[in-house]
C-alpha cells in the first residue's frame, strides 16, 4: 500500500512538473507568435508615426495628445496581432508533444497526459526546445523605438512664425503708431482735457477694431495719414497757442507798457485763448478757468503763477513730444529768435524747408532705424502717396517673416541687375577719346616709313589686347 501511494505521489509530482514545463513552453511560443505577427505592423506604424512626428514638429507642435494617440494606435495594433496570433497559439498538449520530440520520449508525455503511461523522470537540465531569437524578435522593435525617438529628437527648424497667433500679429501702421505715442504723451502731460484725449483714443480704437489684414489697405492708410496729419496740426496749434499765451502773460507783466501795447497784448491773449477753445485738443478745465480769470482781471500774482504753469506745461509737452517723434519741440526752440510765426515754423507739414528736430530715439516703434517723421513726411509729399509704413505689408503667410523692422538696404554689387540687355550701365568719367588724326596723306603716299620709331609710334596706337595679339602672331 505504501509503495503504491509513494509511486502515485511521485507520479503526481512528475505530472505537475512536466505540466509546468509545458505551460512555460506554451507561454513562450504564444508570446513569440504575438511578437512575430507584430513585427511588421509595428515597424510600419513606427515609420508612419515618425513621419507624422516630423511633420508635426515642422509645421505644428507635438503635444501630449500625439503621444497618447500613438500609444493607443500601437496598443490597438498589438491587440489585433494578438487576435490573429491566437489562432496559432499552441495548447499544453502540443507543448508536451514538443517536449516529447525534444527529449525523445516517443510521445510518452502525451500518453501520460491521457493517463495511459507513466510520467517519465525529469531530465537534469531544464533546457527548452526553443528560445526566443533576440535579434529577430527585438531588433525591429528597437528599430521602431529608435525611429520614433530620432523623429522626436532630430534637430529641425521650428514651425514657421505664421503658425502662431503671436507671430502672426500685424503691427500698426506707422502713422497710427505715432499718433498713439503722441496720445500717451499728451495724457501724461496732464495739460489736455480728458474729453479731448478720449476722442483721440476713440478714433484710434475705431481704426484698431478693423481687421488687421485691412490696416494696410489703401483707404486705411489714407485714413491713418489723415488722422496723423490732423493730430499733428492740432498739437502744433496747441503748442503755438500755449507759447503765445506764455509770451503774452510775460509781456503783460512789464510796467513800461503803453496803453496801445497793453491792448495789443490783451488782444493777443484773447486770440490765443479763443484759439485754444477752438482746438479739438483743448486744455484742461482748470487751466482754462485760470486763463479766463486772468484775462478778465489780470494781476501780477496771477501772472506769475500762470506764467509758471504755462511754461511748465509747454516745456513738458515739447520735451515729451520730441521724444515720441513729434518733430517740433527742439525746432521751435532753435527758431525762437528768428521772428517768424512759431506755428508756421513748427508745423512739419507746412514748413518742408525747416529741419525737423524729431528723431526716432524715444519711439519704441521706431527701434531699428525707423526714419524720422519729418523725413517720412518729405517722402510722402514727394511721392504724392500715403506712407505705407516701414515696409511692405505681408501679403502671404510665409515661413520666414518679412523684416518689417528693418530699413537697411543691402548693397547690390552687380550693376547689371535689373537692366535690359544692351542697356548702358554707366559712363566713365574720363574724357572721350580723341578722334584719330587723319592719316590719309600717309596712305596716299607710298609706305616708306619702316624705322623703329615709326613702328613704335604705330604700335602705340594699339590697345594692350591688340599688342598682345600682334606679339603672339609674330613670335
Amino acid at each position: 500500500m505504501s509503495s503504491n501511494s509513494v509511486e502515485t505521489s511521485h507520479q503526481q509530482r512528475l505530472r505537475s512538473l512536466w505540466l509546468q514545463r509545458a505551460r512555460k513552453l506554451k507561454r513562450l511560443t504564444n508570446i513569440a507568435w504575438v511578437i512575430d505577427l507584430s513585427l511588421w505592423p509595428t515597424l510600419l506604424s513606427a515609420s508612419i508615426a515618425a513621419a507624422i512626428l516630423l511633420a508635426l514638429r515642422k509645421y505644428f507642435s507635438v503635444t501630449l495628445v500625439f503621444w497618447l494617440i500613438l500609444l493607443v494606435v500601437l496598443a490597438t495594433i498589438v491587440f489585433i496581432c494578438y487576435l490573429f496570433a491566437r489562432r496559432r497559439f499552441i495548447s499544453v498538449q502540443t507543448a508536451l508533444a514538443e517536449l516529447d520530440n525534444f527529449y525523445g520520449f516517443h510521445c510518452k508525455l502525451l500518453a501520460a497526459l491521457e493517463g495511459k503511461a507513466a510520467w517519465p523522470e525529469l531530465p537534469e537540465s531544464d533546457q527548452e526546445p526553443y528560445t526566443l531569437a533576440f535579434l529577430r524578435s527585438y531588433s525591429p522593435l528597437l528599430f521602431s523605438i529608435v525611429l520614433v525617438l530620432a523623429a522626436a529628437r532630430v534637430p529641425i527648424s521650428p514651425p514657421p512664425a505664421i503658425a502662431t497667433s503671436e507671430a502672426a500679429k500685424i503691427e500698426l501702421p506707422v502713422a497710427l503708431a505715432e499718433v498713439e505715442a503722441w496720445t500717451e504723451k499728451l495724457a501724461e502731460s496732464g495739460a489736455i482735457s480728458e474729453d479731448s484725449l478720449e476722442n483721440l483714443k476713440q478714433e484710434l480704437d475705431n481704426f484698431k477694431s478693423e481687421a488687421p489684414e485691412s490696416w494696410y489697405d489703401h483707404p486705411s492708410l489714407e485714413a491713418a495719414d489723415t488722422l496723423k496729419e490732423n493730430t499733428s496740426q492740432q498739437i502744433d496749434a496747441l503748442l503755438g497757442s500755449l507759447e503765445q499765451l506764455e509770451q503774452a502773460v510775460k509781456q503783460l507783466e512789464r510796467l513800461d507798457l503803453s496803453q496801445s501795447e497793453k491792448a495789443l497784448l490783451e488782444k493777443q491773449l484773447s486770440e490765443s485763448v479763443e484759439s485754444l477753445k477752438g482746438n479739438p485738443l483743448s486744455l484742461n478745465e482748470q487751466l482754462m478757468s485760470e486763463l479766463d480769470q486772468f484775462r478778465k482781471a489780470p494781476s501780477n500774482a496771477q501772472s506769475k503763477a500762470l506764467q509758471e504753469t504755462l511754461k511748465n506745461h509747454l516745456d513738458k509737452l515739447q520735451r515729451d513730444l520730441a521724444r515720441s517723434g513729434k518733430g517740433q519741440a527742439s525746432g521751435s526752440q532753435e527758431q525762437k529768435g528768428e521772428g517768424s510765426s512759431p506755428q508756421h515754423q513748427r508745423s512739419p507739414t507746412t514748413s518742408p524747408g525747416s529741419k525737423p528736430a524729431g528723431n526716432c530715439d524715444g519711439n519704441p516703434l521706431a527701434e531699428g532705424g525707423m526714419c524720422t517723421m519729418g523725413e517720412e513726411k518729405q517722402i510722402s509729399k514727394s511721392s504724392g502717396a500715403p506712407t505705407r509704413g516701414k515696409a511692405d505689408a505681408p501679403l502671404e503667410l510665409t515661413e520666414k517673416p518679412p523684416q518689417l523692422t528693418s530699413n537697411r538696404l543691402e548693397a547690390i554689387p552687380d550693376q547689371g541687375v535689373g537692366k535690359e540687355p544692351g542697356e548702358t550701365l554707366g559712363i566713365t568719367a574720363r574724357a572721350p577719346d580723341e578722334p584719330a588724326p587723319s592719316r590719309s596723306h600717309e596712305l596716299a603716299a607710298p609706305f616708306v616709313e619702316n624705322s623703329e620709331a615709326a613702328e613704335a609710334a604705330w604700335k602705340s596706337e594699339f590697345t594692350p589686347e591688340e599688342r598682345e595679339a600682334l606679339r603672339r602672331y609674330f613670335k
Binding site: H106, A111, A117, A118, Q127, A133, R136
Partner: protein
Amino acid sequence: MNQTSERTFTALDEKLVTEAKARLTIVKSAIERVIFGQSQLIDDLLTALLAQGHVLLEGLPGLGKTELVKTLAKTLKLTVRRIQFTPDLLPGDITGNPILQNTPQGTKFVFQPGPIFTNLLLADEINRASPKTQSALLEAMQERTVTVVGETHLLPRPFFVLATQNPIELEGTYPLPEAQLDRFLFKLEVYSASREVLERIVTERQIGEESQVEPVISQDELSQYIALTRQIALPQPVANYIARIVEGTLPQQSKATHGVKFGASPRAALGLAAAGRARAVLQGRMNVSFDDVEAVAMNVLRHRIILDYSAKLKGRTTSQVIQELLTETDRLDRSIPRTLQEQKLEETIDRVEADRV
C-alpha cells in the same frame, strides 16, 4: 486534460507490454534462424500479426516468401494452409463447397470447408488467379467470415492472410482489384539477399530440406498480445498526424501527391493506427509515437495509392510519393514562429531513461 485522465494507466499494462516485447523478440530470433537477412521483413510481419492485418508480399520467385510464412506459422503454433493460386482456380476451391452427403437425417448438402478455414492462410502467387477467384477472399479478409450458398461460416481466430505475388510484369499474372488491395494492411516488398546472406544460405541450408522450427509462443499468448495491442494509447497529436498523412495522399492535397490518381482511404488511416500500435508493442511502449507512424506508413500506404499514367510514364513510384509526403508533413499541426530559435538537446535522453529504470 481532466477527461483524458479518466482511463488510468496501470503498472500491469506496462508489464504486459514489456513481456510481449520480450516474447516477440524470441519469435523474431527463431524466424531469423531460418530466414537469413530479412530482419526488417520479419519485424513488419510480426507488426501486421499484432495489428491483425493481412500482408501482401511482393517479390520475385525464390526469395523465401513462402518459407518465411511457413516458418512464422510454426513459431506461432498456428494452423497454416497453403493455396497455390493458378489461373484455373475457382472461388469454391478457396472457401469450400456444399457437397451432397448421406446423413442420419437423410441426403442433403453439407458444407465442406475450404483451405481458408485456418489461422494462417498462405495465398501463394495470388495474382496468378483470376480477379473473380481473388475476390473470394474479400469477405474473409474483412469480416473474417465466409458465406457459401447463403450460409455464413465464421473463420478461426486469429485469421491472417499472407499472400505472395510476383511482380505484375511477369507473364500470367493479373493485377489485384483495388478493393482487395485495400484489405491488405501491409504490402511488403521482398528484395534479393546480399552476398553475405547468400553465402550463409549456401553454407547452412540444403535444397529441399525442411527447416526445423520449434513453436515459441502459443496461440493464446498471441491472442493476448493482440488484445494488448488494441489497448495501446494513441495520443491525439499522433492521430492528427495520421489523419494529415492520409489526407495528404489525396490528389491535389499536397505537392508530394503530384501524379496521384487515387489516394488512400480511411481504412488506410485505421491501418496506420493499428500498425502503429503494434509497432509500439514491439518497441515495448504503451503508446504510439510519431516514429511508429512514420515507420509503418510506407508499408500501409504503398499499395493504396494509385498513380496516373503520366506519373507511371515518368517512372514515379508510390514509394517516392510517400517518402515526399512524410518529409513534407510536420509531426505537429502547428508552425513555429520565426522569432523562436530551435535548440539542440545537450543531454542524452538515454541517461534520463536509465536513471528512471
